[in-house]
Structures are given as C-alpha cells and as structure tokens.
C-alpha cells in the first residue's frame, strides 16, 4: 500500500512542496539554527556539570572549558556529606508528596463540585472564586495573615496555602463538565450520592487528567522556595531550592557552610545545582507529553 502510494504520487509532488521528502538548502538552514538553539539551551547545564567535576585550579585557568581536563569528585562528596543539603532534600520530598496529594485532592474535588449542574449557591461560589483570579490583597496583608494564623516558621506554611490552584481547578471543572452526564444520572438512579458518584464513577475515569495536573503540582513543589524564604527561619525547615538559593547568592560562604575539604564555592554550588536538576532531567523526557497535554488543554478550554 505504502509502496504503491509512493510510486503513484511522487512524480506529482512539486519540488519544495510540503510532501516533497527531499531535503533542500532551507532545511539545512533551519536545522542549523535549531541545532544552535539546542546547544545554547544545553550549554549552561554542561558548563555546570564541568565546573562541578573540575578542581578549582583547572576551572580558574582554562578559558572555555569544553571537556573535563581533570575529574574530581571532591565537590560532590562535600555536597553529599552536608546535612544542610539533605535536610533541604527531606523537606522538598515532603512537599513533593504530601503537598501534591493535598493540592490535588482539594483542587479536583472543588472542580468536580463546580462542574455539577445547579446546586444552591453555585453561582455565588463561582463568582467568589473568579474574583480572586483578578484581584488580591498583595504580599503585605498576606504576610500578616500567615503570621496571625500561626503558620509562620512551620512546615505547613509551604503546604496549606496552596490547597487550590484556581487555574487548574477550572481545568478540572471543564474536564468533568465534558464527561457524559448519563453516568451521573444512572448512578443517581442506583441510589448513589454525589460524593460516591465522584469517587466511584468520575474519579477513576479522570486519572490521565489527574496525572497531568498532579505533575504540574509536583514540579511546583520541587521548585518551591518563595514561601520558604518569606516565612521559614529554621534552617532545618528550608526546602532544597531555598538552600540552593542561599548557596548561590552568598556564593563565598558555601565553602564555609558546606566544606572543609579542598573545595571551592563555584564548584560546590554547581555540584548542588546539578544535583537538583538531575531528577528533573531523568523524568522529563518521559513525562513531557503529559505536560504538553496540560498546556494545550488549558489553552483551548480555559
């Protein structure tokens, strides 16, 4: 079939047409530009990796290090033996699992309730939520709210305020609204109530969508530092990104906080930074399609 197609249509395809599979000079130009673009994206990571495995002398004296001249694991051994970094990892992992589950639960359940037809007060609640998308009190009132709630300098300040992400909640709502309503009706006839219908009928059907939104939450939690910076003082409660931030901005002191060995601040910082990127690098290629789906669904329906 395929062969036949080629024979039948190839002569009809004009040169340079969309269906002409030959590679022309313009293709090479596009190829070259995109290759350069990809290299510009990759280079900073590669540079970070190179610095993290190079001894200070090589790092300082070699213009444009392109390949490792001398490999040392000193930076990594120092980083891995630092309690500071591991405590950051611990907090971030708690945020990653607990925070994501918590956000997912409240975001999805709210999206479901708002997707159901006519219940008393629905419009009022919907408007109340929409207003918050366009107007807010700002940072200072929020700061004093957190203090008054007693969340200041606790682990919970990085979890509880994130309960519902309005944008993703509305995505979920649109998704649930797009599912056939017969399901709900027949379950109602069988005597199920709304909570049961949600957990037994709609939730199992929505797992791919849940995975998509959950991944966005997970990335957000992995990258979380802002709430920690504002509201957390205890060193052992700071998430990984905040520990890294302190290392980067006070670059000189990372040697003091982390290392007693023959290490240097740039090497240590880059080893820590690279360490925090690696999990993302490993998972991203496989999860990319979920993220893309989330973005595209949001743009079309949101």
């Amino acid at each position: 079939m395929r062969k036949f197609e080629n024979i039948a249509y190839l002569p009809l395809r004009p040169k340079g047409s969309t269906f002409d599979r030959r590679i022309g000079p313009l293709d090479w130009v596009i190829f070259a530009i995109l290759l350069l673009y990809a290299i510009i994206i990759i280079y900073p990571f590669y540079n970070a990796l190179l610095i993290s495995i190079s001894p200070e002398k090589v790092y300082l004296n070699t213009p444009f290090l392109l390949y490792p001249k001398e490999i040392t694991m000193d930076n990594y051994t120092t980083v891995f033996s630092s309690t500071q970094l591991w405590s950051g990892v611990r907090i971030t992992l708690i945020l990653l699992f607990l925070g994501t589950a918590y956000q997912l639960f409240f975001t999805v359940i709210t999206g479901y309730a708002l997707s159901r037809n006519k219940w008393i007060g629905k419009n009022l609640v919907m408007n109340m939520i929409l207003v918050t998308m366009f107007f807010g009190g700002g940072l200072i009132p929020y700061y004093f709210l957190i203090k008054n709630l007693g969340l200041y300098d606790t682990l919970w300040v990085m979890i509880i305020p994130g309960a519902i992400d309005t944008y993703n909640m509305l995505l979920m709502r649109n998704y649930f609204a797009s599912l056939p309503p017969d399901l709900e009706e027949s379950a109602k006839i069988d005597g199920a109530n709304d909570v049961q219908i949600f957990f037994k009928v709609y939730l199992p059907m929505s797992l791919p969508m849940l995975a998509t939104i959950g991944l966005f939450f997970a990335v957000g939690n992995w990258n979380s530092w802002y709430n920690g910076m504002l509201f957390v003082e205890t060193q052992s409660l700071k998430p990984l990104q905040l520990v890294l931030r302190e290392m980067i901005t006070t670059s000189a002191s990372s040697v003091e906080t982390l290392g007693q060995k023959a290490t240097y601040s740039e090497g240590l910082t880059m080893a820590s930074v690279f360490f925090s990127i690696v999990p993302m690098m490993c998972f991203y290629p496989f999860l990319q399609k979920f993220f893309v789906k989330g973005l595209v669904v949001g743009a079309i329906k949101g």
Binding site: D27, G136, P141, L145, D194, V296
Partner: protein, 316 residues
C-alpha cells in the same frame, strides 16, 4: 400579604430547605474551597486597610493608627518619592519588553520547529528547548552567574587571556539584556508549544493546494501558517498585557544585585525589599501593593474588553 404565595410549594424561597438538602453532598464538597478562598484570598483583601495605616504589628490592623488624617498618607508618600516612579517605569519597561520579545521568540521557535520534517530531530529539539521551563529561577540564576558572573566562564576566559575581569551583572545595560535573554532562554520553547498545537490543526489540504499553485515555503508560511495562528497569537498577546505589572519577581529577585537597582527594581521586588529587608513601615509596601493590584485589575478589564471587541472570547 398574600398568604397563598407564602405557602406556594413552587416558590424558590419556600423550597430553600429542600434545595439545600438536595445539594447537600455537593455543598459538603465545596465547603473546603469556600473556607480556603475566604481565609487566603478574602482576609488579605481586608488587610488592604494596612495601606492606609501606619502599621504596628502589635497593634494589629484595626488598632494601628491611620497614616495621616485623610488616610492616604502612604500614597502621598510613595507618589512623591522619585524611587517609586523609577520602580514603576522599570516594571513597565521590563514587563512590556518581555511581552514583545517573548512573543516574537516563541513564534519564531514554533515556525522553525514546525518546518522540520525529520520526526526524531523535531521531538528531540522540542524536548530540549521546553526543559528549562521546569527549572526554578533559583537554578537558572545560578547557571547565569556561572557564565556571566565575576568568576563565571566568560570572565575566566578574559582573565586567562590576560584581561581585567568585568562585572557584567553590575552593568545596567547588560543586566537588562540578560533579563530578556534568560527569559527567552527559559520560556520560549515552552511558549512555542501552544502555537505548534495550533499549527498541527491546520488542514493539510491548504498546503497541498498551495503546492499545486507553486507556492514557495515562505509564501506558505506567510499565507497559511501565520494567518491560522493569528487568533491564538493575538489573544495570548492581549491577555499577557494584563500581567504587565508582574514583571517577574522570581527571575529578577534571583538575578539582581544592589548595583542594578536603578534599572532592575520592579514593584514586587521593591515591596519585598523595603518591607522585609529595609524594615520600612509595612503601610508603605502595602500601599505600593494596592496600587499594583488596582492598576492590574483595571488593565485586565480593559484587555478583556479589547479581546472581546476583536472577536475573541474574553477571560472574564
């Protein structure tokens, strides 16, 4: 009063109890959301009062004295300070610059990727260029410092060649370029996906017809691809104007230093720094914050009207 009306079973007022009972499970599911939005979104709106007060944390919002007799003392103060106008100007320039530059960059990336025929290369490039979107600005800030910083790779090269180290990150012009450059580096690939998705929806017949007419590649891009993504592009462009005053706290906060405050300080970084680092009375920060909220809200309304007028569905 008409007694009959009151006992009318069909009256919405009369059936209130019945309707609550009927929706009780959904109400149960929505209660956490109601509490959440009241506590974390509406209580801070009450906190806006701080903007009109000289705020003392121990006295609380209610107990703190008004900023002056009119209550607008904080606003008078910020509107008279040169620093505020400088920060506002920076915010608008950076916000607007980012919108334009990122828009063009994302469109270009999408057009280029869309023209690749090699499936494998297309997928790989897409994976690579969308990746930085998922990193925090903390990380990106660190990577940038290691290239442009005083001990970064460029300066190491200069030093190794016998030159003087240059403080790129402390140079106004270089720093602003870096804000735009790193924003494109991090986000252009990801933003291009939305255009690529729209391009994927273009009917191949259009291109076939163009081929038969002997159209060149550029002509096809200009006359088929671009018009097809125009509605999406215009909508995204218009909507992004609503967020112009949020010029990117995370990015600037993780990259700037005191040397470039004159060009890089934006409203959000200014609010944060004056209140939490310089310990200026919180009333000042809150009034700048309120200014930002109100102007942003007005912008969103205007932008929504424009989007609707141009035949797109709006956001509100």
């Amino acid at each position: 009063m008409n007694r009959k009306l009151i006992i009318d079973r069909n009256s919405p007022l009369n059936d209130f109890g019945g309707r609550v009972k009927k929706s009780r499970y959904l109400l149960l599911m929505i209660i956490p959301a109601i509490i959440y939005y009241i506590v974390f979104c509406y209580v801070p709106m009450y906190g806006i009062l701080i903007a009109f007060k000289k705020y003392y944390p121990n006295a609380g919002i209610f107990g703190s004295p008004w900023a002056d007799t009119s209550g607008f003392g904080n606003f008078a103060f910020i509107f008279e300070s040169d620093k505020f106008w400088q920060v506002l100007r920076n915010t608008i320039l950076i916000g607007l610059g980012k919108i334009v530059i990122s828009f063009v960059a994302a469109l270009l990336v999408a057009l280029l990727i869309n023209e690749i025929r090699l499936r494998f290369f297309k997928k790989t490039v897409q994976t690579i260029v969308t990746f930085p979107h998922f990193l925090s600005w903390v990380i990106v800030g660190g990577l940038v410092a290691n290239i442009f910083g005083t001990a970064g790779i460029i300066n190491n090269t200069i030093a190794a060649l016998g030159g003087e180290r240059i403080r790129f990150m402390a140079n106004d012009g270089v720093f602003v370029s870096l804000i735009f450059g790193t924003d494109v580096w991090k986000e252009a690939g990801w933003s291009s996906i939305i255009y690529l998705a729209t391009m994927a929806g273009i009917s191949p017949e259009l291109y076939e017809a163009a081929d038969i007419d002997g159209a060149t590649r550029m002509q096809k891009i200009w006359n088929i691809t671009l018009p097809a993504i125009k509605p999406t592009a215009i909508l995204l462009l218009i909507l992004s104007v609503g967020g112009i005053l949020s010029a990117g706290f995370d990015q600037i906060f993780n990259m700037y230093n005191s040397q470039v405050y004159d060009v890089a300080d934006i409203l959000d970084t200014y609010i944060y720094r004056t209140t939490f680092r310089e310990r200026v009375n919180a009333g000042i920060g809150a009034s700048v914050g309120l200014f930002k909220s109100v102007v942003s809200f007005i912008l969103v309304i205007i932008v929504d009207r424009i989007a609707k007028l141009s035949g797109e569905r709006g956001i509100i």
